[in-house]
């Protein structure tokens, strides 16, 4: 139900080359061992050198999958310091998929992205204030909780 969805296909093809491995294919066993593969679906975001920059596993319905995948692409860009590309994808998640489980991650790392791009700016504080307001029960709220402690 997920892969036939148009929103999944368009988001995937706009950002990545899709590459699939059948985990019952004996020719792939050596690669699966290197990947420490344990469960399906097992999804990894790689750069063109094959370096893994993000991963998740388990089934997700289309909207949750797209949001998670876009967060994965965004993190790959963030880790390789392509801040504009990362920001564009995090903003897209928050605009189109604000109620998904991936949205708090997008809110948290949108602040991180803008901070890493401009350490003198106020965007980290502003985005984490949004996180506290919009996603108060999320794990990502805890990750910025030190900002809520008395200084």
């Amino acid at each position: 139900m997920t892969y036939p969805d148009d929103s999944v296909i368009s988001a995937m093809l706009a950002n990545a080359i899709p590459f699939q491995i059948d985990n019952t294919n004996k020719d792939a066993f050596a690669m699966l061992h290197r990947l420490h593969h344990i469960w399906t679906p097992d999804l990894r975001v790689l750069d063109h050198n094959g370096d893994e920059l993000y991963r998740w596993d388990g089934f997700l319905p289309p909207a949750e999958f797209v949001a998670r995948m876009l967060c994965g692409f965004a993190m790959a860009h963030l880790r390789t310091k392509r801040f504009d590309a990362a920001e564009r994808l995090y903003v897209d998640v928050l605009r189109r998929y604000p109620t998904t489980h991936a949205a708090p991650e997008a809110q948290y790392y949108l602040g991180v992205t803008r901070y890493r791009n401009d350490p003198e700016g106020d965007d980290l504080t502003e985005q984490w204030q949004e996180l506290r307001s919009l996603y108060p029960s999320s794990e990502y709220r805890l990750k910025q909780y030190f900002k809520e402690l008395p200084q």
Partner: protein
């Protein structure tokens, strides 16, 4: 999750990486079980 999808999956690792480089994209790797 390979349920009749219309995604043009690459099956060759080196080709996927080469395309990612030339098209300035990432690679989305999906390990699936056909059962």
């Amino acid at each position: 999750m390979s349920d009749g999808d219309r995604i043009p999956w690459e099956r060759d690792y080196e080709k996927a990486l080469a395309r990612a480089g030339s098209e300035q994209k990432l690679v989305l790797l999906d390990v699936f079980n056909p059962g």
